[in-house]
Symmetry: C2
Subunit: 220 residues, 2 copies
């Protein structure tokens, strides 16, 4: 596909996804999409013959986007902590940048042809398993706590995917703030543990002072 044709195709899919998100997939027609694009229906047909071809293309490109980014992380030599950090940042950026695609991706599974839906489910499952392998590696190396990795992944991906429901691009948070907060929560938890560290450090300081004074007494 040449670059111009590819650009038009991308534009069609973005416009279709926006419309599906706003009005719902079933309520949107090819006419609506052509009208919003300022394109004749005949030209549109040169790219997609039917609405469900667009839906399938949106779903395919979404899962392929996720899979491609995850693949780079998995093949890297980063530590499990850095891999997970990278996955969270990428996932947040991807959902924010492709909100319409994601809305369609998560809401219209029931509208996909059965064979394609099965294929998509298998690709999603591979993505989940890829993220899970990072958690498993972290637990094995003793850097992650031993929480069932599958539940960690479902919890984490829920946190990340849910963004498509609430994220407002005109709101106060950018991708970096969102992933920063999510990482703080998932890596270190909400419970403040400084007191324990501080208490122990204080105890050590007191013991050292005591030791010094006893040593001085001995020297004297």
């Amino acid at each position: 596909m040449n670059a111009r044709r590819q650009a038009v195709r991308d534009q069609i899919l973005r416009t279709a996804a926006d419309l599906f998100r706003e009005r719902g997939y079933r309520a949107s027609t090819l006419d609506d999409i052509a009208r919003r694009l300022g394109m004749s229906k005949a030209s549109l047909y040169g790219y997609f013959r039917a609405k469900d071809e667009m839906l399938a293309a949106i779903s395919r490109e979404t899962i392929e986007g996720f899979t491609r980014e995850l693949g780079l992380v998995l093949r890297s030599s980063l530590s499990p902590e850095d891999k997970l950090r990278r996955v969270v940042r990428q996932h947040v950026r991807f959902v924010i940048a492709n909100r319409s695609f994601l809305t369609v991706f998560f809401s219209e599974e029931a509208s996909l042809p059965a064979r394609f839906a099965r294929q998509l489910a298998a690709q999603k499952d591979r993505y989940d398993k890829g993220v899970e392998s990072i958690v498993v590696e972290g637990v094995r190396r003793g850097v992650f706590r031993d929480v069932p990795p599958r539940l960690v992944v479902f919890g984490l991906l829920g946190m990340l995917n849910w963004l498509y429901k609430w994220y407002n691009p005109a709101g106060r948070w950018g991708a970096e703030e969102v992933s920063g907060a999510f990482l703080a929560l998932v890596e270190d938890g909400l419970h403040r543990r400084a007191p324990r560290g501080q208490a122990l450090t204080g105890k050590i300081r007191r013991l050292k002072r005591e030791l010094q004074s006893v040593e001085r007494a001995l020297d004297a």
Copy 2:
């Protein structure tokens, strides 16, 4: 409404929600619902005149269920940590027990009449703010780390709500395992911090031994 009528109404809504989840809201008809219930369409009409009345009732009962449970927690004298723990456990149990309701609740917002949709959005927002008030209280008291409370809530609710997508009642995890894992993740984080605690404890043990030997030397 008498108890028998209430029971029939509940049964109708559960059946409708199951059907909406399986086939999609738009693809389901009143005839399908009556057939699955083994009820005449005339009797069904005695409860609901139209499909969108069912959708509205399902959505209303879902948000009211969440709100009622959260209200009990907010009015309790529990600590912020225990309040949040209670909310997570309740939310997980509620989503698992009402999977069909939740699927309809989260997927069919676009099908609701505009006025009702606005009302529902306001109720959801109150729920979010209620959970947020727990986080804010915990941060103020210094028991929770200072992560933006609104982002904590969106992250946490994403984790919890996403359950409706993946939870399989025939699978290996019950509500307790799921909320246990999510709480472990959100309260203490995935990063193992034991090494630091262990290192400090070891240091204290060595200092104490040193102190004792010096004291014995002094006594001698």
